[in-house]
């Protein structure tokens, strides 16, 4: 197991390196550079040129890349010219919001997936199962942004049950109980919209896993020993079906990244996805590079996590 994990991590390192080069070159293609936002219109072109030389912006790209990546490793991601803040500070402010939104989404995803998967796997080909399968069918096809818009329209505007934008009530004081409740309240609808879509594949997977397990010999044995049906499901089938589902946890994180861009945009939730879109539109290059790098590494780590869990659950994978 350890050799697999270490080998898997070693494969990851060149991937991250390559990712950083691609992102850097992409950022170079964007109009403007680190100096654009700092230029004072009263300074003459010679002074700008001197400043460019001093900042190393006239060096060949690999030298600049080296400067950039060494800075990144020291936690210095540059300056956002739009927000006039160090990128690290700006990103970490927004990251907290996205982090909690993701946690909420994951909790809801599994809170929905496990009961639905269990019911539809246990009573397969009944009326209830068909309803659940029908839902997964629609959820599988529906694009997340349309679903989220419909949710916002129905529950946010039409019924007015949930706040429709932001991450907290404007007047709330941090630290108080009301602040906490308001945060949760603002997160609920976006998280639910995302969870109802992302949960679909887990439901489908759990369902087929349970249908598979309940025909196995050890279940037959337990039945013949007279174990009650509910106990069989709780202790024998559920446990054995859950492990492979748990292994997809890491891929789930990767999926959240794409979703959060849409969700945060629709619900005007001040997280990283929204910051990313705004920065691309404002051409805030240093923020864009930092965010793509962050999301890229997060998705690499998510895949790594899933691969490791899978290798623990299913020893055959280690052999490859």
């Amino acid at each position: 197991m350890w050799t697999f994990t270490i080998r898997r991590i070693l494969i990851m390192l060149p991937q991250i390196l390559l990712l950083s080069i691609v992102i850097y070159l992409l950022a170079k293609m964007m109009p403007g550079d680190a100096l654009t936002g700092l230029i004072d219109p009263n300074i003459g072109p010679e002074a700008i040129e001197a400043q460019r030389e001093k900042l190393g912006l006239n060096n060949p790209w690999y030298v600049q890349y080296w400067d950039w990546i060494t800075n990144v490793f020291q936690g210095n991601l540059g300056q956002s010219f739009q927000h006039k803040l160090p990128v690290t500070e700006l990103v970490s402010q927004r990251l907290i919001n996205t982090f909690w939104l993701s946690v909420m989404t994951l909790i809801l995803t599994y809170a929905i997936a496990i009961p639905l998967g269990l019911i539809s796997g246990r009573h397969n080909d009944t009326w209830t199962d068909r309803m659940i399968t029908g839902y997964t069918y629609i959820g599988f096809a529906a694009p997340i942004f349309i679903f989220a818009l419909l949710m916002l329209f129905v529950f946010g505007f039409h019924f007015g049950w949930f706040p429709t934008s932001g991450s907290v009530e404007p007047g709330a004081v941090p630290g108080t109980f009301d602040y906490f409740i308001s945060k949760i309240n603002h997160m609920l609808l976006p998280a639910l919209s995302m969870a109802l879509i992302t949960t679909v594949s887990t439901v489908q997977y759990l369902r087929s896993e349970i249908i598979d397990t309940k025909q196995k010999d050890f279940v037959l044995l337990a039945r013949s020993k007279g174990v009650s049906e509910s106990r069989i499901y709780r202790n024998h089938i559920f446990r054995n079906s859950l492990l492979p589902v748990a292994a997809f946890f890491g891929y789930e994180i990767t999926g959240l990244i794409g979703g959060s861009i849409f969700i945060e945009n629709i619900f005007s939730y001040p997280g990283i996805g929204q910051l990313f879109l705004n920065s691309v539109m404002q051409r805030d290059t240093s923020v864009v590079t930092a965010l793509v790098l962050l999301f890229g590494i997060a998705s690499i780590l998510g895949t790594l996590l899933s691969d490791i869990i899978l290798s623990i659950v299913d020893p055959r994978i280690r052999m490859k």
Binding site: L26, P143, F145, S299
Partner: protein, 299 residues
């Protein structure tokens, strides 16, 4: 003796062609059949009508007709520029389907070539191609596409579809590779090699036809996903320019809370149309998928 002559008289049963299996599965599955009919009618309608409609007329701003609710003049009302939503819906559907098909074809061809070459030749070629594929797999696709769209100079429909395709070929490549790996071990390929057929001939006239049903299934399912992704990008403002409306462009007007709350006629029809289109294509795709697996067939 009697039995023997009867057996001689009877024609040997031919195994059904893959096309007839695909067709039979769709007919057996009522939902898939309805979806297919819906798709054919929608496409005929949309492509037919848009021949008559004048695109530049529809996207022309008319300041005297801003945000009109549905009426006799405007079947589905007008948007913030006084443009007829119904006309935009027709043109948007056409553009979305067209770009979906285009992206599916481009990414499909790239994926098939990568997959077949990798699976058929194996060894070092396979290793190198798969490492490239692995790298593309870990990229945060949506973000990279958005960044690309914003940096490409003289951006248009063609460059948009190439950018999308560049990050969407991996799934099909992986699938085709694993299938080609199995296929090349089979006797017919070995026999063909022994007879001296060139690799190209074996790949194009023998291996590819044998995995064609898989290709059709994957491409159908990809089409649904690509229409969704395109409309998503247009929704965020990184897809089609506003002068070429897509379904996502119409939905994107709902990012204005006023429009979302009070002017449903602008965004709701387009949203539902995207939803139904993707569901229908998926239904057809799932039926085709069952057809390729003898164990799951209903027909």
């Amino acid at each position: 003796m009697m039995l023997q002559s009867e057996a001689v008289k009877q024609k040997p049963m031919r195994s059904p062609s893959s096309w007839s299996i695909l067709w039979r599965e769709i007919v057996r599955d009522k939902l898939a059949l309805i979806s297919l009919i819906f798709l054919v009618i929608t496409m005929a309608f949309v492509y037919g009508i848009s021949l008559i409609l004048n695109q530049s007329e529809i996207v022309k701003v008319d300041l005297f007709a801003i945000h009109e609710p549905p009426s006799e003049n405007f079947l589905l009302g007008t948007d913030y520029g006084g443009r007829d939503v119904f006309g935009q819906l027709i043109i948007g559907t056409r553009n979305s389907i067209s770009i979906g098909i285009l992206v599916t074809l481009i990414s499909g061809i790239v994926g098939i070539i990568m997959g077949v070459v990798s699976g058929y030749f194996g060894g070092t070629v396979d290793n190198i191609l798969m490492r490239i594929l692995d790298f593309f797999m870990i990229l945060p696709t949506l973000m990279i596409v958005i960044v690309f769209v914003s940096v490409v100079p003289n951006y248009g429909v063609m460059s948009f579809s190439f950018i999308m395709s560049a990050f969407l070929w991996m799934g099909i490549a992986r699938l085709i590779r694993s299938k080609a790996l199995q296929e090349k071990e089979l006797d017919y390929v070995q026999a063909s090699k022994t007879l001296g057929s060139s690799h190209l001939k074996i790949i194009f006239t023998q291996v590819l036809p044998n995995i064609s049903s898989l290709i059709i299934v994957t491409m159908t399912l990809n089409l649904a996903a690509n229409i969704g992704l395109e409309s998503g990008l247009s929704f965020l403002g990184f897809g089609f320019p506003e002068s070429t409306p897509s379904l996502g462009t119409l939905v994107s007007y709902a990012r204005n809370p006023q429009t979302l709350e009070y002017r449903w006629w602008i965004w709701l029809p387009a949203s539902l149309l995207i939803l139904i289109l993707m569901l229908s294509i998926n239904n057809v795709g799932q039926a085709l998928k069952r057809a390729t697996d003898a164990k799951q067939r209903r027909g």
